[in-house]
Assembly symmetry: C2
Homo-oligomer: 465 residues x 2
Amino acid sequence: MPQSTLARLQDDLGVAVSTDADVLDASREDRSGWRSATPPLAVVHAASVAEVQQVMRIAYATGTPVVPRGAGTGLAGGAIASPGAIVLDLSRMNRILEISEADELAVVEPGVLNGDLNDALAPLGLWFAPDPASRAISTIGGNIATNAGGLLCAKYGVTREAVLGLAVVLADGRLLRTGHRTVKGVTGYDLTALMTGSEGTLGVIVEATLRLRPIARGEVVTVAAAFSGVDAAAAASAAVAAARIRPAVLELIDAAGLARVAAHLGPHGIAGTPIEHIAPGETFLLAQSDAEGAGIEADLIAEIFAATGGRVSRSADAAAGERLLDIRRAMHPALAASGQVLIEDVAVPRSRLPEMFRAIEEIGRRYDIEIPTIAHAGDGNLHPNFVFTGDEVPDHVWAAADDMFRTAVALGGTLTGEHGVGVLKRRWLADELGDDSYELQRGIKALFDPTGILNPGVMFEASAR
Amino acid sequence: MPQSTLARLQDDLGVAVSTDADVLDASREDRSGWRSATPPLAVVHAASVAEVQQVMRIAYATGTPVVPRGAGTGLAGGAIASPGAIVLDLSRMNRILEISEADELAVVEPGVLNGDLNDALAPLGLWFAPDPASRAISTIGGNIATNAGGLLCAKYGVTREAVLGLAVVLADGRLLRTGHRTVKGVTGYDLTALMTGSEGTLGVIVEATLRLRPIARGEVVTVAAAFSGVDAAAAASAAVAAARIRPAVLELIDAAGLARVAAHLGPHGIAGTPIEHIAPGETFLLAQSDAEGAGIEADLIAEIFAATGGRVSRSADAAAGERLLDIRRAMHPALAASGQVLIEDVAVPRSRLPEMFRAIEEIGRRYDIEIPTIAHAGDGNLHPNFVFTGDEVPDHVWAAADDMFRTAVALGGTLTGEHGVGVLKRRWLADELGDDSYELQRGIKALFDPTGILNPGVMFEASAR
């Protein structure tokens, strides 16, 4: 009689295997607000590549689904327990294996937190550029699995551009190495890029060789302004681009978002900032320049903001700059204070930002909901937020999100700029990709995961395998 | 009786189909010195996506191999006629379809020359960063098909990072669109990156959406120095990195190369430069800084070069900077003046450059050949050159190259940094990738090209399909 999957896991992996009800329950959700219907079979806290390989061998032999998971900070339900699955928790594989100053690279285990790596790098004058807003709490493995974005992408690129190579445990437990320790390398297809953003559906990332950057010399200068409306702020953002300026950060908060932020921070939090005396309908734009010439660039930005009608504040002082950034950082807490938040993640070509903002407003009116929105204006990535009460995302919210996704794609954009497809957006995937691309992507999935055990239901409908 | 492939092509594509002996013959070679054994069946000069689709439909129906080709400037035999093949020449698809200043992107046909695009962009203050040395004569389609590198990659990235989306004609004639008009986008697997560098083996690139950059403000400052040997120059290069400086250009010419360059340029060409009075064994290092702070950065570099024993020349004057760059540019002409040149293309982690240079010297001694070498020192990509006479690469040159590839891989590098695998290096592909990766890559090839008609023999052994 064949031994049960759980017994085999326990035999081979011992105390790394947890069936504790609280542990199982915690693996049912991420930061998206989504919660899986059932707990998993077990959570395995792998501590080594060999353990990950052993889990995959057992899963492969028994046809058991595996959900690779890091810190659980995802926003698309890409790493949550599915029925009968092994949740393969990689957060204990959190060693920085190597930092090469000479080659400006780091080799890390997947569970290293983005922020911890950067803390280790800073004294060396080096920096891992990918900067999701979650960087203090999210893992490098998760950043790579979702090809995470962040605030700095227009200038410094997405995660894919900072990954030189990977070690990946395949569905059957074999260990695949991709890429090089070099910036260049064109030997064969780019499997490193293919794995980046694949959301645990092609393999389990167990090691990453990361490209580092020198920390830029020069100061950091912050420019912020309040504008009469979203069109004015978008026009100011477009004028910055037209002046051939690419600031490190360029963030736009719409009127609905800004009103909530101002209320949340209170009079003390906004004193002395451009939003100290906001009128209804006003919006906020924040730019940050870094590196050599930051002061000159910030001056140009401040001029542009003023010329397009902004009430401008400029600061080269770190503390004052942080106070301005705090306004942007307050967006999520301000929303979370009044309910569950579903953060959407569409992206459109930068020139279509005003149209997308208008569409969001129109969709809000149609469904009678407010949709406070923040945008990475430098790269056209918008986060419209739905605030609701209760555990389940209401149907009319999904209907509104559906309208939004279709609009973004029609404007030449995408339904997810940086959060991933996960389980939340899989039903729109084929619509955006078209049949030919969808079919090829399914083919790639089948090639790497012929028995469909890797994160089933993520990215593709489970029935599709 | 079924119509012949050639007759079908002629019926459907008319004068676009050439069987002129000179045209067929010209398609047998690229700039690698490699020449295919036989001419192709025909060369089709496609002028539209529809024509490319029609060629692929005929090829698919008749099982005829297709070799996509741009300007024929490749260095790995990746786009040369194979027996019985249709050479699909895309050089007439050379329209710039769109330049969006607001979105900092361009949409181009594959036959647009890299230099022509940049000429069109410059008046707008925009720039397509990929800069292969061939940029004046190579096509964007070819740049993408090989994931071309160049001199600027350490600072500005490889071609992959400048491609937002593609239109690709698949093996059976269907048109696939990948990517977005946005910098961010994580909807499904990254097929844009998969296609980039796939050397015509997965599909025919017929349109590309390219990410542009603002032309950097500030001056361009050039610093060059002669050093007593390759170790001293490599040490200077490492010291630049250690100072957390990432110049736009950092090029190293070894002693064998520099002697030939100096002889080629003559006394007039080198007067006033650091190589005016070179001693035997001296080497050359050239750095260029751009953007805001270029002057400060160049001062630091000049100090480092001097402190590591270099005879330094620094120039912020454009003409004087060009004279220094001319030394680097003279490398290939200097070699080509004395025979056929096989340009190799290994890459190693930057810190291993001294070891790689020593290995090249040792390999040269072993096979009794001089191997003049130039390196993109900023990213560890070396071009060791073999100069020989006659049409065929001599066996002992391949044996030396073989030793070199194995050394580069053993040092954590790759056998091709930016030129591609083509037909020249396919026999080493499996060795570098390992069995698991090779098998997966073959699987991807089979998924996109089930009947093996797309550039057979390139990247993989023809027998492998």
